[in-house]
């Protein structure tokens, strides 16, 4: 089945020249350090902690509602050092995740309510199932499916995952359209989360 397009209120989103769509109810801390490479959607309630370290998010990536993106840290000579965080192209991050990975490759799918702990490295083309908790320093190799608490290798992915994921995120971006044609399809507004 083709996914029906989702519509958003135009006044609630900021659209940049290179196609980024950032919700006004998302919280981007340290906006100077956050770089979106274009055609990225940031949904309401997302927190990006750019004040800790630089955050790079690649093209055609989608960050869903209420996810926290927070650069990872390490104690080094008594003080805490934050590492810059890189998220690749065609990455889908589900709702309610906490992402503190050191780097996330391209064509990665992260399900709902996942916790990607400090200094994890997610390589290209991998899938993290809904509700997975990846312990610190985990490496997820390409073409693998990780799930469980703690997240462990479950099985391989089909070889065409990268093509599929590219197609998937592109279609999600293209079906994320401004303005609401019918009042019935409007989604319920999501409460923004505030940092305590």
């Amino acid at each position: 089945m083709q996914t029906p397009p989702t519509y958003f209120e135009k006044s609630q989103y900021i659209e940049t020249l290179n196609g980024n769509k950032v919700s006004k109810s998302s919280i981007l801390c340290g906006i100077m350090n956050i770089r979106l490479h274009g055609k990225t959607i940031i949904k309401p309630g997302v927190i990006v902690r750019g004040d800790l370290a630089t955050v790079n998010i690649g093209r055609l990536s989608i960050v869903s509602e209420n996810t926290v993106i927070r650069p990872s840290s390490k104690k080094f000579k008594g003080s805490i050092v934050y590492f810059p965080q890189n998220i690749g192209d065609h990455v889908f991050i589900g709702e309610g995740c906490v992402i503190s990975a050191a780097s996330i490759g391209s064509q990665v799918y992260i399900g709902k309510n996942c916790i990607i702990s400090k200094r994890c490295i997610l390589k290209d083309c991998c899938i993290i199932e809904d509700g997975t908790i990846l312990p610190p320093d985990t490496v997820v190799p390409p073409f693998t499916y990780y799930s469980g608490v703690p997240g462990v290798y479950k099985e391989d992915l089909p070889d065409c995952t990268d093509v599929f994921q590219k197609d998937y995120t592109t279609s999600l971006y293209e079906s994320f359209l401004p303005n609401i044609p019918k009042p019935s399809t409007s989604g319920s507004p999501i409460k923004p989360v505030t940092i305590s």
Binding site: P141, T144, P150, D159, F164, D167
Partner: protein, 593 residues
Amino acid sequence: MYSQRLENTYQFNKNLTNHDIIKYSCNCGKSYHLTELYYCISCLKTNCKFCITEDIDCYYCPNCLEHISSAEASLNGNRCKKCFECPMCFNVLTYSASTNANGVETFFLNCTFCKWNSINSGEKEFRFDSHSIKAKNEESEAYIQLNKVLEIVNKESAELSSLKDKKTLTRIKIAQAMKQFLGQQSKHQKHSQRKNFLKSDEQRWINSSVPEPLPDNNLLPKITPGSSLLTNANIKKGLTPITTEDSDKMQQDRVQSRIFNKIESTLPTNENNTLFDDAETKDQYDDDLDLDQLNKIEDADEISTLAQRLHQIPTQSKSLKKLEPHHRPLLTRRSKRCKRCDRLLIKPDVNPGKTEFKRQHFAYSYLPRIHISKINWIDNDLFEMFLVFNNPLHSHLFMNFPMEIKGSMISLDDNAQLVDLYQNETFIGGLLDETDDMEKEAHIQQLKNLEDARYFIDRKDNRLKLRFIGKVGVENSVFDNNGQDEVTHLIIHLPDQLLLNTDENTINEKKFNSKFENIKFTICLEFSTKSLTLNNNNNSSSNIASTTPKDENDNTPLGSSGTLQPPSESASQKTLLKILFDIPSKNFTNTQL
């Protein structure tokens, strides 16, 4: 041949419910989601997981992502030398160092998830150099037992290979399979063994170019081309099963090689079997029966789970304290070949961190991708469906919907069928507008003019939206020929008065009841990058191969793919594709729920 809907292989496809709706049939009749299929460009057919052969290209550790040679992998039992797995939660362990009061630094393994560490666990210090672990494993009971069985199997296969009649060949195969399963060999051995395995069945049609439609099954009688399956000679030749006597003898040999521990002298033992009587009384081998020890356990948390025990093959300890970390098992990169013509379908990069392929023939990037944009009832038992066809290729794709095919038009457990579809040839544009020759251009224009608005809804770039009308219930003629279970013709009985919406977006207020919970039907489709009807002689060579010229030098060490050229007639350049739909009735826009 009937096509059959099968459960998707990968968890990733099982979780996405949408991936059960549309399945593509492989040539062998099994159908899966598009992402699980491959497409062989020399046979122009799809390959499912049963129609490919796999070879391990490289081993790598999933944690340190280090490429490990097959010799080294088999030496370490397909495990990484450096990385350890937590015995409790199977997470990767990290190395930590601690300094005690005397200033002596000790290194230990530490789990960042469940806080297990190698200092507090067990009575004595865990030594994590690979040598001591290996020695410990080799001392263990299970390892000795395994080695004894392996020895017997080796002996058996050596004995058998000296005999060369039909019956022993089957036994050799089983023995070799056991050997391959139990022990590790070098890559070279494996390759030659694979060749031997394949000789009787696969090699035959590599040379004869008769495609084998069914995946290889040793239990099925083999047909030599040009002869019938049901001649007496063939029945005799084909079925040489090993008797129970044979298998019992093989079994017995293996049993005798092992020494079973006496469980309990008070328990009734098998007195007929004199073999066990002379065995000395030893410690209990199976501690399931050790009730005394089990009763001593006060805290149930001290007992290991089944998963934890299965990760500890040498000890299989029931106590958590005795669990030890193990080296992390390796993962592999595998290349895949077509079973029909042995052409490489997938050749991965040997660098474990990379995701590019040296050779990639996914069905996903060759076959038209299909989505259902909308499906709704227009009458009782009649539905209309809007399908979006996406062309993943850079060149134009020509396709038609045949009314008659060799094989079956419907699939197993279909409960509906199409009654109205566009019968002419049509096309989908490529990703890039490559207008390479005038003749093709003219032909496309011609096809465009013929288009009927009844079927054609929308055409844009590389996508095409078509309307189909289907009917619940399969035509009676299917049930007439009970013996001949193949429906090769599509029968169209479309009611004369039919209200068709000209606009897709008009909402039909009327609700209909659905007879079935899921509506299942099949669409047959033929496609080619060359026009299916147009006969242009001057560029008969510009077929699919021209779009991917690099595949010409695809010849691999096995080499036999070179002899198998795609058929020269343009008529056979097309691929027949069966698309199996299984649509839950709740997905229809106007079903009475």
